[in-house]
């Protein structure tokens, strides 16, 4: 008598390709996934609770450590949320510099995403090529902010300091050199026949499910929804620069990778425009006092991080400290799709699908 039994496999939390401490229990029939149960929380540090016991300024470094590959973007979302809560104005120059840095960080984050997509199908080289360019971005960040991974460069009302001399030229050089490299990644990985074979038609997400789950960023845009907060709810200088929202129709892993690739080109375009028309002036609001004490109210502000809608919901009770800070993290929401996406796919596609959602566990677990 042959008995048929499902094969349970426990992927993670220690597994080479779960992008961090993520655990997914897979139920397999041969190589096909018939059930999946994601478990998160291995990196839960209680940022929301810690922030209730710190002043608004002291919370800022915590946000760096949420999505550690996009620290600039997190700073931005938090700083702008506090500025909205307290009604602080920011100078034009500071806004332009913020936009440039946020876009550079978007490129850096997408580079990691594309590189790891390569790793997941066994193409190691593209990963190191991506890191080569990311290194230049990190050097630029280091020159401007002093940090390579966590920056804390933005301040309420402006920036910590102005850009150093010669930075603009260096950034311009980077933009010039970067675009041919994007073509290189496209040739080497994204348009590679084997990669296409591996990713086309895998992990298909449709529009309604994506919206229903609240997915955002490249994950949502791959399903044919043109939804980008930079265009749909413009902040900073995004309404003054020309760029296209990249979106595709198929909603599979390949589309998501291609969107990220194309977004790097668009980001370069934005940076170029801003570098050419960088406004003069101060980067720090003059009347800013040492502590921010907002009125008793709540506000929500979201930016388009490389992963999607990154929002901070802040409640103030009129004291120095936020009464409640909720982080609406895009990676958390996108990752909740993983159960739906991996069902019916092969076990070899599971890391690919997880990777295409581009989760960063500092942000998922908070």
């Amino acid at each position: 008598m042959v008995e048929k039994q499902e094969f349970m496999i426990n992927m993670g939390p220690q597994h080479p390709s779960t992008h961090g401490v993520f655990r997914i229990v897979l139920e397999l029939d041969g190589e096909t996934v018939i059930g999946a149960k994601p478990e998160i929380g291995y990196l839960h540090r209680g940022v929301e609770k810690i922030s209730e016991n710190r002043t608004y300024e002291q919370v800022l470094p915590l946000t760096d450590r949420l999505d550690y590959v996009n620290a600039m973007g997190n700073n931005l979302a938090y700083v702008m949320a506090v500025e909205k809560l307290a009604g602080i104005q920011v100078s034009e120059r500071a806004q332009a510099i913020r936009t440039i840095l946020a876009e550079l960080n978007r490129i850096a984050s997408h580079l990691i995403s594309i590189g790891t997509q390569g790793l997941e199908v066994g193409a190691y080289t593209v990963f190191l090529y991506c890191f080569r360019e990311r290194e230049i971005i990190l050097d630029l960040f280091e020159r401007a902010t002093g940090g390579r991974l966590t920056y804390t460069y933005f301040r309420f009302g402006g920036l910590f300091q102005d850009l150093p001399e010669g930075w603009v030229e260096e950034a311009r050089d980077f933009c010039k050199e970067f675009l041919p490299h994007v073509d290189e990644y496209e040739d080497l990985l994204i348009q590679n026949p084997i990669y296409k074979l591996r990713t086309k038609g895998i992990g298909i997400l449709n529009k309604n499910i994506a919206l229903n789950y609240g997915a955002s960023g490249p994950v949502l845009r791959s399903t044919g929804v043109s939804w980008d907060l930079r265009k749909d709810s413009p902040y900073l200088m995004y309404d003054q620069v020309e760029f296209d929202v990249v979106y595709t129709k198929n909603g599979d892993v390949w589309d998501r990778a291609w969107i990220r690739l194309e977004e790097m080109r668009q980001s370069t375009r934005i940076i170029k425009q801003l570098l050419d028309n960088l406004p003069e002036g101060e980067v720090q609001a003059e009347e800013l006092c040492r502590y921010v004490v907002p009125e008793e109210r709540s506000s929500y502000f979201a930016v388009e991080s490389p992963r999607g809608e990154l929002g901070f919901f802040l409640v103030s009770d009129g004291s120095l400290k936020p009464y409640r800070m909720k982080i609406r993290s895009p990676a958390f929401v996108n990752l909740s799709l993983v159960e739906t996406l991996v069902k019916g796919e092969k076990v070899a596609d599971v890391p690919l699908i997880i990777g295409s959602l581009d989760p960063v566990f500092g942000e998922v677990d908070r």
Binding site: S17, G122, T125, Y129, I194, R198
Partner: protein, 324 residues
């Protein structure tokens, strides 16, 4: 000297030479692979041990030798110990039958092609045993994959080798090489060459067919649970299989040791190195297939193609012999 004694002596010498050759080749190949891989990836590769990191592999081997051999709880201790040998021995034994020039071969046989072609297939038992004995689900999936894909590459591989055998009219590797005096079989049989070379990569578990140790999903595949020298033996077996496959490809399709001016052995090594470097290049460039895609590709495309190739070869041969 009696025949039995002579054969035994030859075998012992060959095995010793074979092992030292593969061992040496491994050290060289490993350094070359790491340096080249570094260059492909715009980094330096090993730099510090020896001249430009040339002794890195030896340092690593010394380290591996000192490592504890762990047998995981719940593993089958006998099979777990046996598996690396099952994998390594066939991969190296094939060098018994590989002729390195017209007169230098350890085991002269009319059927040397069969030995070289099929002995490595025994390595699959090593992989199967390792996956089963490890008591790890990742290893098990890897060994199931290995069992599943074995026929998928062995059949087109054998069929494409057969078309060369038909041309040469012999199963002896020496004879096959001698038949390429006027023209390499690579020119006559380009399709068979491509099929043979790529399926050889699959045989050696190389990219893009490294499905049995696909680290992105299976951690390290069938040798996930292995440590120290046992792990190194699988590693050695993989390199042995790669070098063996390249030797065979050269002998079958690229004229073996034939070539002007230089000594035959040098020619053979040059040709083998070209193929090995080619496979390294693939490794650092290509993503890997998924198991079902590779099986589909093999059964639905490679197998029919190699059969057609065989039929066309046969028809043409008869046609030419009749002298139309």
């Amino acid at each position: 000297m009696s025949l039995a004694l002579e054969v035994t002596l030859r075998a012992i010498i060959a095995v010793v030479l074979g092992f030292s050759f593969v061992g040496l080749a491994l050290v060289v190949l490993n350094v070359v692979e790491r340096k080249l891989g570094g260059r492909f990836q715009s980094r330096y590769g090993p730099l510090h041990v020896g001249w430009h990191g040339s002794l890195q592999t030896i340092a690593d081997l010394l380290k591996i030798l000192q490592k504890e051999l762990i047998i995981p709880a719940g593993a089958d201790p006998v099979l777990f110990r046996l598996a690396p040998y099952l994998s390594l021995v066939p991969a190296i034994t094939i060098f018994l039958a590989v002729p390195i020039s017209e007169n230098i071969v350890a085991l002269e046989s009319n059927l040397s092609l069969l030995i070289v072609l099929f002995l490595p297939a025994v390595s699959v038992f090593g992989i199967l045993t390792a996956g089963w004995a490890s008591n790890s689900k990742y290893s098990l999936i890897a060994s199931l994959r290995s069992a599943g894909q074995m026929f998928a590459y062995e059949i087109p591989r054998t069929l494409s080798a057969l078309s060369v055998v038909m041309l040469a009219g012999s199963l002896s590797l020496t004879e096959i090489v001698k038949n390429q005096q006027s023209i390499w079989f690579l020119v006559v049989q380009p399709i068979a060459f491509l099929i043979f070379f790529f399926t050889s990569l699959a045989e050696a578990n190389r990219v893009p067919f490294d499905l049995t140790w696909a680290e992105s999903e299976l951690v390290s595949g069938f040798f996930t649970e292995y440590t120290g020298m046992r792990w190194a033996m699988f590693f050695l077996a993989e390199y042995g299989a790669l070098i063996g496959s390249c030797f065979l490809t050269v002998l079958l399709f690229m004229g073996g040791w034939l070539g002007p001016f230089l000594p035959p052995v040098v020619w053979l090594l040059i040709k083998v190195s070209v193929l090995v470097l080619l496979s390294l290049w693939f490794r650092w460039t290509w993503p890997r297939f998924r198991i079902d895609q590779w099986l589909n590709f093999s059964w639905k495309f490679l197998v029919p193609l190699s059969i057609i190739n065989l039929l066309v070869t046969g028809t043409l041969m008869i046609g030419l012999r009749v002298g139309v």
